[in-house]
Amino acid sequence: MADKIRVLLAKPGLDGHDRGIKVIAAAFRDAGFEVIYTGLRQTPDQIVTAAIQEDVDAVGVSILSGAHMTLFPAILKRLREAGGDDILLFGGGIIPDEEIAELEKVGIARIFTPGAATTDIVDWLREAVKNNKSDEKIM
């Protein structure tokens, strides 16, 4: 049996809209993932430090404040600097399509928008972590 997926969830930025990320946390938990939720107003440094310490497979962040174009790349950059190359970064929020394309181009694994089903997010993460791990083995 495959190892349990370990995922860190956090909310960067100043807004306190944590309904979505808590729903996702509960859905991941029910899907059998190990969920570490570090809460609100996490700086990119805090998120990355926690991700490395907890040795997670993926980091999911939720941004509803409009600061996504600043925060996603900032987290990704620090994650790479800290040696977390094998950690997937994904997220969700109110993010226009063309900006999703830009973010995915720079290396954010996936952005979910309002209305996404938790089952789809669970399935996606399971697949993405599996593919990410087999890539590592090949290398």
Binding site: D15, T70, T113
Partner: protein, 555 residues
């Protein structure tokens, strides 16, 4: 209302009717339930609701217990205020939007601040990176508020400010800018959200821990009773509690429980309930379940009136009134087929009006995508104007009273709220429940249940899990220019250079002393604001005394 034999016969007949219905084929829906997840019967009649105590429970508008409305004449006497929440980018852009809204017939302003302002950070703080002017207007000093209200007579309009943790500072700025224009604080009308308890429960924009936060609020209430008597000091808000996932009954119960807490805190600070309580108002969400929402507003008025009169002993009738603002539910809007949000908002707005709201904000169709464009804002305002002028619902007061279903729901939601009040008390009160995460857990559970209902197909959301289309979304989206942070930071720098820095330092030190002692913090804050101290400087002046709040993460 009905005699006993009639009701007994009716109940017997109902059994027979129910048995007939049970044999008939019905739509294959797994459950019939409200948005809150409560089962709904196929039919309600006189047997479903106890109307014996008509005058005690329902009665007349403008009379205790105000189930039917707070005014005797309701919308014939005073139409609701169409108050569209807005604000974005720089103070100058916001000022332009306000002149536009006033020209188009809005009659109250409602200021949305950006997140740094809501959290007490200046635009040049590290914490503000990427957030300046995004969700609302950036305010650092009095100079920004002067720009926002440039050319607007603050003695003529009412202004609502959605600000909580740093509410005292923003009110102080509004007072100072008005005084500078020659408008006395006694003439100012408006509302401050200033509801810190729901921040801990749902919206999560806090600075200090609950106890010093409550002191800031009671200091402000005392200050306003004396100097800004027409100002509504707290808008006790269920809106965010609902958005965070609450059911209708949870929204109602947690909000009113917060209200009771403010009343008790102000009374404990020695204030006269008959002076401060007339300035408390409420803010509810209008979600998609039409009847459930109407019942919620009616139950809210009844519960509040009874508590204020019997439990807290308010003597003046006007202090028994629950007056409220309504905003349609942001969380009910979908990013898919966004034009559908126009219809959702219209139904929700209608429930607010039928529920007797005093003011209303209708959301714009594009708000799940970005801040609303001018066109979307105009359509949202027109929705209210159509309800007011074309639908006929304002002709007669509380037209749904006496509907067996609505009266049944009103009683039911009231009873559920009472159960929550008992539970909160058993757990040691509102502050204790916040500390222990009781509210937060209840909301997370309800939000998850709702999401599951959608994913299991028990609940159909048009465009999301039913009637799905491949679509290119082509509604215009408002983009906030990333350059505004620079502009704002440079203005802030200029203000800091041109103000009297010695005075700013002195007033800030006096505020720290005031916080340490028992003086009125609102007075000390006003002195800081007048000499252009920044919001963050003022917050920092109290931080060493009050500390900071941190929430243990939970889900």
């Amino acid at each position: 209302m009905f005699d006993k034999t009639f009701l007994e016969n009716l109940k017997e007949y109902r059994k027979k009717w129910d048995a007939d219905v049970a044999k008939m084929p019905q739509d294959a829906r797994p459950r019939y339930m409200t948005v809150s997840g409560d089962d709904v019967n196929i039919l309600y009649g006189p047997e479903s609701v106890n109307m014996d105590k008509y005058l005690d429970k329902i009665g007349f508008p403008g009379e205790f217990p105000y189930t039917r409305g707070v005014h005797k004449t309701m919308y014939r006497g005073k139409m609701w205020t169409m108050r569209q929440f807005s604000g974005m980018g720089t103070p100058k852009q916001t000022n332009e939007r306000y002149h536009y809204l006033l020209k188009e017939g809005t009659n109250g302003l409602s200021v949305a601040f950006d997140l740094p302002t809501l959290m007490g950070y200046d635009s040049d703080s590290d914490r503000s990176l990427g957030e300046v002017g995004k969700c609302g207007v950036a305010v650092d000093t009095l100079a920004d508020m002067e720009t926002i209200f440039d050319g607007i007579d603050t003695s003529k309009i009412s202004t609502s400010m959605t600000i909580n943790a740093p509410a005292s500072i923003l009110l102080a700025m509004y007072i100072a800018l008005s005084e500078n224009k020659g408008v006395s604080s006694h003439k100012l009308r408006g509302t401050l959200q200033n509801d810190i308890l729901k921040e801990y429960i749902a919206q999560k924009e806090w600075i200090y821990p609950p106890e010093p936060s409550i002191r800031l609020i009671t200091d402000m209430m005392a200050f306003c009773s004396e100097h800004v008597p027409m100002w509504n000091t707290i808008s006790i808000s269920g809106y965010h509690i609902r958005e965070a996932g609450a059911t209708a009954a949870q929204e109602l119960a947690f909000t009113l429980a917060d209200g009771f807490q403010y009343v008790e805190s102000a009374m404990a600070a020695g204030q006269d309930i008959d002076v401060f309580s007339k300035r408390l108002s409420f803010f509810f969400n209008a979600h998609q379940d039409f009847f459930e929402e109407i019942a919620k507003y009616r139950a809210a008025r009844r519960i509040w009136a009874k508590r204020m009169r019997y439990k807290y002993g308010a003597k003046q009738e006007r202090n028994w009134l629950l007056r409220f603002h309504t905003q349609t539910a942001g969380c009910s809007l979908t990013a898919q087929q966004p034009e559908n949000n126009l219809m959702r908002t219209a139904f929700e707005a209608l429930s607010g009006v039928l529920g007797g709201t005093q003011s209303l904000h209708t959301n714009s169709m594009d708000e799940t995508l970005a801040l609303p464009s001018e066109k979307a804002v105009l359509l949202a305002l027109r929705t209210q104007q159509i309800i007011m002028n074309e639908t006929g619902v304002t002709n007669t007061i509380d037209p749904l009273a006496g509907s067996y279903y609505v009266e049944y729901l009103t009683d039911k939601i009231e009873a559920e709220a009472e159960e929550y009040f008992d539970e909160i008390e058993r757990r040691g009160g509102v502050l204790k429940c916040i500390e222990e995460g009781y509210f937060q857990r209840e909301l997370a559970k309800s939000a998850y249940r709702y999401q599951k209902e959608i994913e299991r197909g028990e609940r159909i959301i048009v465009g999301v899990n039913g009637y799905v289309m491949d679509e290119d979304i082509d509604i215009p989206i408002l983009k906030i220019d990333e350059g505004i942070a620079e502009e704002q930071i440079s203005n802030l720098k200029k203000t800091k250079e041109t103000r009297d820095n010695d005075k700013a330092k002195r007033t800030l030190a006096e505020l720290t002393e005031c916080a340490r002692g028992t003086g009125n913090t609102m007075k000390a804050i006003l002195e800081c604001v007048r000499v252009y101290a920044t919001e963050e400087e003022i917050c920092d002046a109290m931080r060493p005394v009050f500390g900071e709040y941190n929430e243990p993460p939970m889900f």
